[in-house]
Symmetry: C2
Subunit: 184 residues, 2 copies
């Protein structure tokens, strides 16, 4: 950050009075520009015994497979964000169920929220940010070509919980430099 | 937003190519400045049959009582944010347990995450942003002087769940203009 988005003045980094950490502060109008983590919201869309995945058309991890998920926008709920991303990436209308996984990714300042969801009809197609959208069983999921550890772990939890028929909400911390390889 | 924080150029609002909503975009360097909701992380600190609350010294809702909570910072997990806020607002060291409530507040672009927590020792004092910090039982909680609906609802759920000895995670949407009065 170099310039104040409010007045165009130059930015400096100082610890404001009453604060305890360095902030971007305008040298001209004194506006403090706070920075905060972002929420990535998505879902795990279930149709019968299959899961809907999208193959990413964009960076990062283009060509790899993911659950539909993306940055939460202003003026929406986390469930609305998860449903919107599913519509945008897979042209699919889902019924959002409960929150299933929360991932902390402090090294990239993201919090992932993945909801369980039902896909009532097998109607989908790749959105603008996807190369393809497909339904997979546990056996056919491209486990070695999943885009992010958050996706791999959520799918692993799902199939494990499916055997018990009890879907437990989990909070998981993902360390920096986490491997993109599945740990089976 | 008037000026680009990157180059100082003037900002316009346009729908970028491949996007579907208005964004702040720099007329000079074309940087897109996305805006996203913020996470407020906090906890419900339990010491025996009492809950630790703080009386707010700052706006909004100065003078009203709250669970320790505040904006999540960069490079921390949601649990670390909840524990840090408890330290800053009540000078108390807590052991964070599980996520208990998630509130969507789309009208103010916040997502509240409140964790259950244990306060191992009754050691606390008001931090810089608090007028006081005190332990309350269900009967002594200042129900009519709680700061936010998120706090009132979380406390109501807690004492209801306590009777069943089963603490269920809940996702709640808070509508705009929600009353600050408790609905008993």
């Amino acid at each position: 950050m170099n310039y104040c988005s409010h007045c165009g003045g130059e930015i400096t980094t100082v610890i404001p009075e009453g604060d305890n950490r360095l902030r971007y502060v305008c040298t001209q109008c004194s506006t403090i520009h706070y920075q905060n983590p972002k929420i990535v919201a998505g879902c795990l869309p279930v149709y019968q015994n299959q899961i809907l995945l999208c193959q990413r058309a964009i960076h990062p991890r283009a060509g790899y497979w993911t659950l539909p998920a993306g940055f939460m926008e202003l003026n929406e709920t986390t469930q609305q964000a998860a449903a919107r991303e599913t519509w945008e990436e897979a042209c699919a209308t889902v019924e959002i169920d409960k929150l299933y996984t929360l991932f902390n990714l402090p090294h990239i300042n993201q919090v992932y929220l993945i909801f369980l969801a039902q896909l009532p009809q097998p109607i989908f197609s790749p959105g603008e940010e996807s190369l393809s959208a497909e339904l997979f069983t546990e056996e056919t999921i491209p486990w070695d070509n999943l885009a992010f550890p958050t996706i791999t772990k959520t799918l692993q939890y799902y199939f494990s919980d499916l055997k018990q028929q009890q879907f437990t909400f989990r909070t998981i911390d993902i360390a920096p430099h986490a491997s993109y390889q599945q740990v089976k």
